[in-house]
Symmetry: D2
Subunit: 433 residues, 4 copies
């Protein structure tokens, strides 16, 4: 997490002030529950809510001595609250505060990411409908295959990010739990009803069984989900990088006036945003394994997960949030060139219609193997001619072909519109409209 | 995937025969749909179902020439079916067959893994209830913390694997789609109704929008889920390895008569099964990143994902299946030693009750900080005495403590049962009973 | 490791017969040393060498009972040797045999991979000199940058794989150690001179200090090295995939007569080998982390590393070996199209010379910033004209430019040969000639 | 990289001031070489060295407009230098500056890490000699195996970190190269002698062949090496965590006066530093894969590696540096308890001598299999007695044993000193003394 790849909306979730404020709320809500249970006096809870506060610098100072952040926080809090502070944290253990706080932070991060995905989906949808019927080359293996539309390309991205959104909602559910269960999760010194109260107040659900800590399989699933979403970001970014290649140039990242593409070559307009997204995806993916290694804590807990989460908690969420917002901007302002798409479609001398000829020959009674050979032998000549020969011409001149198909039939097989008759079906499946 | 860590139930899903059989079914069901649409003659479909077949060795032979597995399969199929075979695969592309087949295989693998998880959950539950109230040491950081019960440990594992089961069900959903959409997913040469028919026949749902291939974010999510489940396997395995340590020895893997623990040291009984599970978890986790790297295919598809999936498809599912079954066996036959648990509980001279004393002092009006210092100064003497001193004795002899708490009150704070009053609550949460 | 991506030269290293044969040699050599030390009778060693043998099926059978592979092997060996077999394995522990055997296997695998790299280097070198001065487009960000030669591209690959070779030699060194040090590495029951003897006999060095096992940081470094080499394989593979794109088509994988590129589209010639290499690279990289997780074994050893190594030992070496041989074949037979390279060079209306104009303006006294603006404003027009406008024409028509540079000077800046004056220097650096 | 896990020595390498200062030096040294080659006037180089400077805030401001950091830097530099600035960066490309700078930073980071390793090695060595002959339990699988010494444990760690040091030196070599080769590495507009001059001035070697960028296999190897070293850190950390377990307690992290182990349990002294190191190791390992994914840049370069390196460059080096220093502190002040080690050695009723008995029986003429059975049947009784029975007693009472070995012979087999006769050999191998 570095400023260059961060948005304040997300970084603020991970700042000390935010963390300590959440800690405070957890402790104060816990006291409310303890009051109801008759464990601590009502005035103590009142004092905490009214006079409660903390001082980040002071907490740092205390922590340097006691080497324990929650104790440092509680001491600072006590300095604000006064004598009634001795009822704070009653029967709780540090992890009750730390883990519930992390849940709140990850939930907030999820909400931002879900909002990012919504904005991205809206941008993709707008451009998809704009280019619903724009013919463009469909490529497999980087080689021209058959025609598709640019809208279909974006419909695919839409469907993929809609899945990502659903996964993110599920990941949010995974981590939205609260544990106030004491030193080894037995509730020995704290009633389970405190946990229920705090959970509700913080927008969480009680963790069914915790062991000082909330189990880390939840967090592993969370970070793995971020890794998958990042991989989908990479996919769309790579698509745009390909489309912007000099020889293809069917689309281009917006290039602002005043921008410089290269310190040495004034002619350059590079897809730097999507290249950047490719790198960011690698980072977010990389955090997956450490999160999974965190699962096997020793016995009721060890603290090895903590350093990992202090780093990847912010790193993964901030980076993915930034990446999603950047990708939305790229899609929103993407320069799309239908004419070049058309020119590229024509580049291979009609080879992209080879399958239709194959099928027509089959329908006309030629065996699949013979049909394939007939088309391939003509296609390879076109391929080797570098756009100088046209498949249609060669087929018309091939007696084995013309024995089966008339010129008019052959010409009909080279119609572009034929390929787009089901675009509506797919759009309806993806967008419901 | 090696025989040592494989079960035939899972490996058979990945054998050539199975794959070709699924291919056959996809092609044949597609023909049925094409018959209904009037694209191919009814007799052709009939011929395929009746005379259809394939020969694995023959397919291999053909593939060596054409370097394309689906074409090799279709050729072998044609040799069985005869002339009507030219209607097979009409308008389809290889990936229609390959990807739909992979979906079927992953769905079947999921079903096995879900069944494995059910068996594991049953074993854990049985042992959890057996030891619901067996007192055992709760440890944080490998250090004695406070008492818990062995049943609670297992309840935690149960809840974790129940989450794993829910994740596996979701992962199954992710990959249970069918694509029969042609060369670039436009349905140019095949009606979407064929996809719908085949999907239904094969127990899948139509992929809303495919691009020759089913998008690989689905598979990434699938393998990431396996990685998380493997991490939970590791957690329980590590717990057992710890419990079997010579100095702890609270539980032990079953050691069969005739088994030898070491070629050199005849006295050894090692937790080799759970150590093995730890290693297997590393493997399954390791397949996560390659699966995520598969997402960003170029344009409508490139084939880089294929080699990855040919390896990790079997490797990840076979290894996790084996691990889950092995873990179930370990739990099922686990030797559990309540007496040693009890002895270990007593090892630290009563230190495990330090929090209760802290809380009692706080309740008696001492500040949290002073209470902590009072208890800590006595506790450290016990810690350093190596089990020779008892905390209760020292507290009774500390005038600052006895000024607040009577001997009787102090003794009451060392009651083990106190810690177990909420075990029922947790069991109800976890097991619903 | 599956047959499709395996070569018998490498798989044979990992077969049971090979493993047991290495075990046998280790045990027999150890006996020789024990004879010299007077610990076992000379006849016993003689009996082992002469009558020694094993039976894979019998070993499997015994292992099913004793659940310990080395004990099973020793039992089978004893059945061949007879009574003198009781002197075998004297003072040794299983890991002495297992770990030293793994070292031998990894060393042999290294030798194959080094030979693979040598063959690859030879192929790259041959093609590099063949195309030393073939002009081709240099691209950054996928966008035309400035001219380079195809030979330089290959020289880069050569230098990279030469580094990979050096790394592989270092990795071989890392794992070429022998441990015969007993149950916890103290040589309690076996003299260190046995280790020295066996090490020498097996082509290894004694492990300075082992702890029943050879430390796994060695193996982690080994597999990490394979991961880096695989990444270099991916780099060259991705280069070729880019060059084969329809719109670029400057090079192409050899397409054999009879080969079929697609089941549906008879015109296709796809870079399937290099796409496959991309996937194989992901796999080899993926084995890196499990190997690193193997390092932190518990105390003197736990056996969690074993299952990981049983899988990734073969998987990583077999896959990388296969990938290197495949890549060598691709380079060797690569179809290279200098004419299309030339045509692509001309595609951008001379924009690729923009830097030279920038520098000439600077040299003529214009500030860097102004020079940049002057060139950029003309370059962007060319960029937007899609190859219709020529940069040279526009510059000649720009009075701010012509105020500094004459037409003749401008024309001189568009000379292709200018870019290749240091090719010799680089070739000398890389190939020493 | 967060302050909590950072040392200023390392973070300062990655601060903007440092980076721009290195950029400045590269540009200025390049000018010197260009002066010698007669390309730029001597006064221009003089002006740069004398008036050269930059302003971080100003650079940020310019970058916001031009979206290119090197151009922003050059503009800021020009504002300090004046008119002569137009000769700066002549014929260079941004990556010449960026990549050479990264090399300098990674080299400096390497030097810090090597120094860290030296300090760690010194600490380990001191403690190793201190406890060279301190008997302690050797454990395999977490189970008592045979005796070793605490010094041998540390000797193993010493040898491992010495290997890590050698690897770090090699990794430093890998990245210590300089590229000043222009837009696609052809030296079209800059003489290779500039590169040679700058390389020497910055303590680097010229990159034999670059392609605008220094090839990223170098960096992949670098970060992979950090990942391996981190794994070795984890290994030693895990060892200490095990030794500090309540039931083992043979060593303990230093616990400072005033420190609090738990907010709830005043008795706790937890191995929090080594648990922390375990987590930090996961992080450093996690950066390995993104670094490897950076290798396959497109054509002569794409910029996807940049974001990865901006993050993991600092993150990996800062975290590993911090971890090594922390580990050195832990080892330096480690509390070591020889008495408890002795007590643990005695815990298993003499089982740890089982192998010697096995060997003695074999030597006395019993077959290996029978010897194993004889010892195992007595050992299992001791194992099940929980330290109540002594193996020596049982053996003396077993007529099948006493038929072979006298009481005196049996007693001799239980001598601890027997195990340590080769400690000197190992120490000589490891420490050379």
């Amino acid at each position: 997490m570095i400023p260059r790849y961060s948005r304040p909306e997300m970084t603020s979730i991970w700042e000390p002030e935010t963390r300590f404020q959440i800690w405070f709320e957890i402790e104060a809500h816990a006291m409310d529950a303890l009051v109801e249970l008759g464990v601590v006096p009502r005035e103590a809870a009142k004092a905490v809510w009214e006079r409660g506060g903390f001082d980040v610098a002071r907490i740092d100072e205390i922590e340097r001595e006691v080497k324990h952040d929650v104790i440092a926080f509680l001491t600072s809090l006590a300095e604000h609250v006064g004598e009634e502070a001795r009822f704070v944290h009653q029967g709780m253990t540090s992890s009750d505060v730390l883990d519930t706080c992390l849940s709140v932070q990850l939930v907030r991060a999820s909400d931002l990411i879900i909002a990012d995905l919504d904005a991205l989906l809206a941008a993709i949808k707008r451009r998809a409908f704009e280019h619903k019927m724009t013919p463009t080359m469909g490529r497999s293996h980087g080689i021209h295959a058959e025609p598709t539309t640019f809208g279909l390309k974006l419909a695919q991205a839409y469907a993929e990010f809609e899945r990502c959104r659903a996964r993110m909602v599920a990941a949010r559910e995974e981590v939205a739990t609260c544990a106030i269960s004491g030193a080894v999760g037995t509730f020995a010194n704290i009633d389970p009803r405190v946990e229920e109260h705090v959970a509700k107040a913080m927008g969480l659900k009680p963790e069914p069984v915790s062991t000082q800590v909330i189990p880390r399989d939840r967090h592993a699933m969370y970070f793995a989900t971020l890794g998958v979403i990042a991989s989908s970001v990479e996919r769309l970014a790579v698509e745009i990088r390909h489309l912007q290649r000099t020889e293809v140039l069917e689309a281009e990242e917006y290039f602002s006036p005043g921008q410089k593409g290269s310190s040495a070559m004034p002619h350059k307009r590079n897809p730097v945003l999507t290249e950047n997204l490719t790198g960011l995806a690698r980072l977010v993916r990389g955090y997956t394994i450490p999160a999974m290694e965190n699962v096997a804590l020793w016995h009721e807990r060890d603290i090895s997960h903590s350093s990992v989460e202090r780093m990847i908690g912010p790193d993964a969420t901030v980076t993915l949030d930034f990446a999603l917002v950047r990708l939305t901007g790229v899609i929103d302002k993407l320069l799309i060139y239908p004419e070049r798409m058309r020119r590229n479609l024509d580049k291979m001398g009609g080879l992209i219609h080879s399958q239709r000829v194959l099928l027509a020959l089959t329908q006309a009674g030629v065996s699949r193997e013979d049909s394939y050979r007939l088309v391939q032998r003509n296609a390879m000549k076109v391929w080797d001619s570098d756009g100088q020969l046209q498949l249609l011409d060669l087929l018309k001149a091939d007696p084995d072909v013309t024995a089966q198909l008339s010129d008019a039939q052959l010409e009909g097989l080279f119609d572009l519109g034929y390929h787009f008759k089901h675009v509506d079906t797919t759009f309806k499946r993806v967008f419901g409209e």
